[in-house]
Subunit: 376 residues, 2 copies
């Protein structure tokens, strides 16, 4: 068992089937079980944008992500704790993974100052001063009652020199040890370490070794999907994933397109999160089995066909493409609502299909068929 | 049977109970029955803003309103007809009432020119030129497949001199006859005449007599809730409603607050529509049995209580006031979604309670209790 304050047995992951490096499994947590590979919808501020919690459940999602940075600034982690925790707050009794705030501090906050102990920054909302350290980030995630707590890491802005990438990775590893020390284990909860090191296989290997020496309930691969391109991302996964403990869940942070997910699953990844399906839904872009399309396009204006004939979401089962087009042209809120629902339903359906293919030993054929259909 | 092109029996209304002037009844239409008094959520552009059709149904709504002016401009009435009509377009198989466009032409369009035959105007969306006449408005509503078609009337801008009000009413009555002549009756469909005449009882009486002589499946009272105040509105209802045929449904257009509805039901009104619950919901204002409140107010920031303990909508049954406050502060779409849902659920619950009180002969006591609770 991974070491942490307290001796509670953490969340576990059972492997149910393998095909090559791909794994189908079951994540078992205090807040329920989640079949993997699994996609986590992003609920940044305690809400998956444009969706009720019931609608998120209806898409088949089993676990959602929320953002420490946003919630610590508004409404505040201690307030959420007083209100009974994030599960009750957002009406999501299932598992919740919270990121550590490290990425958002670098990408959103103002006037940030990094030191060896942590980061001081000003809120992008009101300019108020805040500080995050490994200890404070871990404490906030505990207050939120996160099922899965992420280590606080330093996210370098790209492009960066190899020296900067290496230094950031090593600082993140020291912070990982401090995050682990601050983590209060509870039955069915867990903490994930985050592998850093850019696209350098040696740095990645060093990072994995450091994290495994500390010991976590799961391992995330961070610092990818930041502009390096799919080929370099996959190459980094090829170099990194095999080094991770086989019996622990693996999470690729911030990824990605359906094709990214398919390629990453084939390389041994179990968990994903990305704003892509929700953000695309708000801007009229739909993911389907035959590729993406933009509902604002005039060619949909009088199309009575459903967005996707094989989808049982309300956008597809109740309405025409013409109606969805009309909603976006009229700037009606129902457009983003329905298309977010559809995109999340598509992502969940994609993951269900991938899981079934792994279990049945036909992931390679399934991937070929999916890719052929995406690019007609 | 009211005269119209074709001999199909139109929609009917059965009175089930009376208390004073108040009536409980059942509107029977081609698209289903609706208990009255009833509140119609407003689905201007073919969507009740921030709500899926399923959510509208879940609030208990039995009939919705849509706007001819908006739909003729975008996506176009003939396009909706080609797509199978408005019911299918917006996933609302139940009854739909469409207004005639007269009010919106006056309030929204640009460069409008009134003549005895109709109105020429430019779209507020793109400046394109359009024309509405009684015949065209009726034809558009037929194309939309409206369960209830409204007569095309001239809506005077207020304040207006008595002469202007009288002239507008008389023009509207000539247009009502032309609207009726253009109406193609179908079983279970109907057309409502609109009583005009401002707050002048004599003009209102003249308008009623003209409309009854033409003969409609129902009668609306228009030109109220335009700033005259509740006392004058109620006085006008007192003078007008008793003149209307007892066996036909009566619809007070564009009204109103819960207190307006209560007072108008007591004066013999059966149907209502208003943007108030939906618009208020988008701006954080909630209607409850104990009055209105604004969820943006800081006093809700850490309140674990539900918005309304006796409401089974998702906003109340799944979340705290603190969460709703957070959603509005964070400008999350779910805030308007949940509060619109709640307000519509409250309006439907209000109408259910009023109907039950009429049936049980205790509307007067019920009204006293409701008003006492609204103003603590």
């Amino acid at each position: 068992m991974a070491g942490s304050r307290g001796s509670a047995p953490g969340l576990t992951w059972d492997c149910l089937a393998r095909e090559g490096a791909a794994r189908a499994g079951m994540l078992r947590t205090a807040h329920g079980d989640v079949p993997t590979p699994s996609f986590m919808p992003v609920g940044t501020a305690g809400t998956v944008k444009a969706m009720t919690a019931d609608a998120v459940r209806a898409t088949g999602a089993g676990i959602v992500l929320a953002n420490t940075y946003h919630l610590m600034l508004r409404p505040g982690a201690e307030r959420i704790a007083e209100l009974g925790g994030l599960h009750r707050f957002m009406d999501w009794p299932g598992p919740i993974l919270t990121d550590s705030g490290g990425f958002q501090v670098m990408s959103l906050s103002r006037l940030r100052t990094l030191d060896a102990d942590g980061v001081t920054f000003r809120s992008h909302l009101d300019g108020s001063a805040h500080r995050l350290t490994p200890e404070r980030s871990t404490e906030i995630q505990h207050a939120l009652d996160a099922t899965i707590t992420m280590c606080f890491d330093e996210c370098t802005r790209l492009p960066a020199t190899p020296d900067i990438v290496a230094a950031a990775m090593r600082l993140s590893m020291r912070w990982a040890a401090r995050s682990r020390a601050a983590f209060i284990g509870r039955p069915g909860y867990g903490q994930f370490g985050i592998v850093q090191g850019g696209t350098d296989p040696e740095l990645r290997a060093e990072s994995v070794a450091d994290l495994v020496a500390i010991g976590f309930e799961g391992y995330a691969i961070g610092g990818l999907a930041v502009g390096e391109g799919q080929a370099l991302m996959f190459a980094t996964l090829d170099a990194t994933a095999p080094l991770l403990p086989a019996e622990r869940p693996r999470y690729l942070m911030g990824v990605g397109t359906p094709d990214d997910l398919l390629g990453a699953v084939a390389r041994g990844i179990d968990l994903f999160d990305c704003v892509m399906p929700t953000r695309a839904g708000r801007t009229a872009r739909a993911f389907t089995a035959t590729g993406t399309l933009n509902l604002r396009n005039a060619r949909h204006a009088s199309d009575p066909a459903p967005l996707a004939a094989d989808c049982d979401c309300p956008a597809c089962s109740r309405h025409s493409r013409a109606y969805l087009h009309h909603l976006f042209r009229a700037e009606e809120m129902l457009g983003p609502m329905l298309l977010t629902w559809h995109n999340l339903a598509y992502y969940q359906s994609l993951m269900r299909g991938i899981r079934a293919a792994i279990v049945e030993g036909r992931l390679a054929e399934h991937a070929t068929a999916l890719r052929a259909a995406w690019s007609p």
